[in-house]
């Protein structure tokens, strides 16, 4: 006994009402609807699931996952943010810092700078770093395969070529601003093989301002980078944002015509609602609501994906009972902005792989537990 298409749409729609939301929980479980089979089957999942790409750039990807439950989509999102490893500055060894920015603040700023480098080296060659125990040699666990050394040595001097009453510090002095591009990568051991030329470890954004200096002020420090995950510190998170939203649905239940249509269009972001002329055919059909309105404009839904679901249309009495807003429960519009160490699309694939590996390890653990 299969439910009708109408019933399926109803189940798949989260209602967005004037002051409330409705129908928020998933119901696709065995025993929820008598006589229906909702048991998990990978074939059924495969046929219902699909992906649509909207945008795929290195630092910004957007795509839809359709036919998947929120719990799974959310697992991918959470893994993206907190469990995919990246390389970031972890230790800062300050020899000298006479700038106005305090050592600990400077160290913190340095930690947040995203870096990029040879992907093979970062993902495969570099392994986890284990912090030495208290009392152990602090460098006991630092090797070329888990630690990347960087240096930053900048001194500000007066620019002798500048005009005598130059007011712009950038012209009056050399190195008045310290930028991320001033950081120098010092390859050690086998790192030369993986991080040379185009593959060198460099800041993703060379123009990040780290500190401002005045003549005779100097910053002189070394840094160690390690691999880490976002759950430990957000500097390790591979994404600037990783989020999803449900596909908005706009259902015009009764015709909205004439000046009302234009007002209705203005209730939504541009491109969501279109205006079309009522055809003579529609106007001649009795009971359609278009009678006698031939040639006038009517509101039609053009692209509901662009909607922000502001509910503005629900505030106006003239649209009452004419429009229903909702969101599709199983249509997730993902947006992933990478910080640069991974490609955005590659990141999602990595998240899926990560969840699989997690399950695989735990499956073995469950087997061990029973023995």
């Amino acid at each position: 006994m299969a439910p009708s298409a109408e019933e399926l749409l109803r189940r798949n729609t989260v209602g967005i009402n004037k002051e409330t939301v409705s129908n928020v929980a998933s119901t696709d479980f065995p025993g929820h609807f008598p006589g229906e089979d909702h048991a998990f089957s990978i074939e059924r999942f495969r046929s219902a699931f699909s992906v649509q790409f909207h945008r795929n750039e290195l630092n910004d990807a957007s795509f839809s996952l359709i036919g998947i439950d929120a719990s799974l989509a959310n697992a991918f999102r959470r893994i993206l943010i907190a469990e995919i490893p990246t390389l970031a500055i972890e230790d800062v060894y300050i020899e000298n810092n006479t700038s106005v920015i305090q050592d600990e603040v400077l160290a913190h700023r340095l930690g947040l700078i995203p870096f990029n480098g040879g992907r093979d080296g970062i993902h495969n060659f570099l392994k986890w770093y284990k912090k030495p125990e208290a009392g152990e040699d602090p460098y006991a666990n630092s090797f070329d395969w888990n630690t990347v050394r960087l240096e930053l040595n900048v001194t500000c001097t007066v620019n002798p070529d500048a005009a005598p009453n130059e007011n712009d510090p950038l012209k009056a002095y050399n190195h008045a601003h310290v930028y991320a591009k001033d950081i120098v990568f010092v390859p050690t051991g086998r790192q030369v093989e993986y991080f040379s030329g185009d593959n060198a470890i460099v800041p993703v954004n060379p123009d990040i301002l780290i500190a401002k200096l005045r003549p005779k002020q100097t910053i002189n420090l070394a840094m160690h980078m390690h691999k880490g995950i976002g759950a430990d510190h957000s500097k390790f998170s591979p994404v600037a944002t990783a989020s999803y939203r449900l596909l908005p649905l706009i259902h015009i239940t009764k015709p909205i015509i004439g000046p009302d249509a234009e007002k209705f269009q203005r209730c939504f972001p541009q491109g969501v609602i279109g205006l079309e002329k009522v055809t003579r055919e529609e106007a001649s059909k009795s009971g359609s609501g278009y009678e006698g309105h031939a040639g006038e404009f009517k509101a039609v839904v053009k692209d509901s994906m662009k909607d922000t679901v502001s509910r503005e249309a629900l505030r106006h009495p003239e649209f009452e009972g004419k429009v229903k807003l909702g969101r599709r429960r199983d249509h997730f519009i993902f947006s992933i902005e990478s910080t640069g160490q991974w490609d955005s699309d590659e990141l999602f694939l990595e998240a899926v792989k990560h969840l699989k590996l997690k399950c695989k390890k735990l499956e073995q653990q469950v087997i061990n537990m029973v023995q």
Partner: protein, 153 residues
């Protein structure tokens, strides 16, 4: 991973001309093989170190058991709860994080038929199947989109 990305991109741009051949037929195998390889390598490395992270809580019976997962959270908890609830033999399944400052996640499973441990095992393996399908579909659509848009990566 990036090395592999390159190889796959090349492989399927060749395939793109042949409409009948599934674009990722070859890649899938590579991907799976590589996934398995990676997983094995990681398991081998961590086998000595990896402590037991799952245990049955006291008071559990065969058909009604609670499991405690160490170092897992909402990420796995909710996903696993969903797949286990999709099992028709399962009467009840829920997860909880008893205290936010303890890295522990509990899952309760009660079954009509079969043991709770088996339901948990099936949940974990179903979740892996889901991941395979998602990765495969994602990659196919990515390749398709990239070739349509002329993105060469």
């Amino acid at each position: 991973m990036p090395g592999r990305t390159k190889a796959q991109a090349d492989a399927s741009s060749q395939d793109a001309d042949m409409q009948d051949v599934p674009p990722s037929g070859q890649d899938e195998i590579n991907q799976d093989a590589e996934m398995r390889e990676n997983a094995e390598a990681e398991e081998e490395e961590e086998e000595e170190v990896e402590p037991q992270r799952v245990r049955i809580l006291p008071g559990s019976t065969d058909t009604a058991a609670s499991f405690e997962f160490t170092d897992e959270g909402h990420t796995l908890g909710n996903a696993l709860r969903y797949v286990i609830m999709k099992n028709p033999d399962v009467e009840f399944c829920a997860y909880s994080i008893p205290h936010p400052s303890e890295p522990k996640m509990n899952i309760r499973i009660q079954t009509y038929d079969g043991t709770a441990v088996n339901a948990l095992k099936k949940g974990l393996s179903d979740l892996q199947d889901v991941c395979d399908v998602v990765a495969e579909e994602f990659w196919t659509k990515r390749q398709q989109f990239n070739s349509e848009q002329g993105i060469d990566r």
